[in-house]
Symmetry: C2
Subunit: 225 residues, 2 copies
DNA sequence: GATAATATTGTTCACTTGTCCAAATTTAGT
DNA sequence: ACTAAATTTGGACAAGTGAACAATATTATC
């Protein structure tokens, strides 16, 4: 419960081929991810991937028609792993809905401090700005990540209509993602993440449980002028 | 007040040289920024920058010793512009501290919907993961961006000690940055940004005004088990 | 252990990358 | 107009890029 680790890759077995081929396929993607995480997208050249995986350059072209296809498979494998993990997290038991929401927040924020997550997602966000495939796949991931958040909000605050719940879930999810650049792996506020977790839990619970239907729509703020 | 636009670049005039040289210098950085924003960091090649600015490749090497120096100057110019703008925002008049905090939140979230901001910052975050210079410069920027936030928190909740104020400011700032990938320029939730702004204002004000000293440190949560 | 499918190697190709430099052009002050 | 400094040009260079291919080695199955 305290430690929930998302596997690096979720690879759908290829049809046909030998066992060695499956190994090679996974090995290549694993090496590519290591390069991306340790040296950034600029290091993602076929030759560096080949060297990293102890293979010949030509062999990469056997597994992947093009470099673009390799990268797509890589992103897809990483993203699929997150999607699977999120589905598991949802079904984790918990007492009240509030407690389960707090657990979810903790799990996500702890994952953010992971080297892989801290390094991978900014690359993903940057790529999504210029690659429609990455854009779509990324939004698929976050859509699914918000499903459980959405349900918990519904349990805690049933009066809130569905569309407002969705926006609230987005706000909470986006808030947490924003911590990546500041309290992620080797980031200056990494040591303060436990306190950020407390703030996040407190703030999100308060927000979810006290937001009234329609409050989001009009600009009738509470304390505002 | 409604529209606060951060200039693209803040360039410190070079010493010596003709006026034409200064123009060329700025023109190159402007073209490089356009490429980065419109096509991503992969498009930042000297030849594309040269073409974009109607110059010869060799001329870029006259202005910048190396490609790395060009990119550093570019990032520095963009970041400096933000720093200058933040200093101006701080001194914007406002009634209560709450109202000024709400204004600040609105300004930042509106800037996030800008094409330049939505596209530039994810690139910056990704670069900061592997380039120490970018890492330092980025943290300088955010440190300064949080100064005004910090002061407002102190006004609203004077009982809160300085170190807890800092973490609270970080939480708020990071939360807003996280909206970039979801409600930024051409992002799926762009149209819902006004509602996200309402949620953010309400949530942040509530958080800042009700957080008690020491609450962050211990794990004595409010509604928790 | 022969055989066909699968995997790997080594090499070649055309192209792009950043850097460098000598020559030509433009600029500003005399 | 003359001049020296500043700017710009165009082309060269070695190194690296993704892609392609025939030749070789490995695997699983009979």
């Amino acid at each position: 419960m305290t430690n929930f680790i998302v596997p690096d890759l979720k690879i759908t077995p290829r049809t046909g081929g030998y066992a060695r081929g499956q190994d090679g396929f996974e090995h290549i993607l694993r090496s590519a991810l290591a390069l991306l995480v340790n040296h950034g997208s600029a290091a993602l050249t076929l030759r560096r991937i080949a060297t990293e995986s102890g293979m010949n350059v030509g062999n990469l072209n056997y597994y992947f028609r093009s470099k673009e296809e390799l990268i797509r498979e890589l992103l897809n494998a990483v993203i699929s792993s997150y999607e699977e993990s999120f589905d598991e997290i949802v079904h984790e038991a918990g007492a009240t809905a509030e407690a389960r929401l707090e657990n979810l927040v903790m799990l996500i924020l702890e994952d953010i401090t992971t080297k892989k997550t801290t390094r991978f997602f900014p690359e993903l966000w940057a790529m999504a700005n210029h690659d429609p495939f990455v854009y779509d796949r990324m939004n698929e991931l976050y859509d699914r990540a918000r499903v459980s958040l959405n349900e918990l909000i519904g349990e805690i605050n049933p009066a809130l209509p569905e569309d407002e719940r969705k926006i609230l879930a987005l706000f909470i999810s986006a808030s947490m993602e924003g911590m990546t650049m500041f309290a992620g792996y080797e980031k200056p506020w990494r040591a303060q993440m436990p306190m950020l977790e407390i703030i996040a839990r407190r703030s999100f619970i308060q927000l979810v449980s006290t937001l009234r239907p329609g409050e989001i729509k009009g600009d009738l703020s509470i304390g505002g002028s």
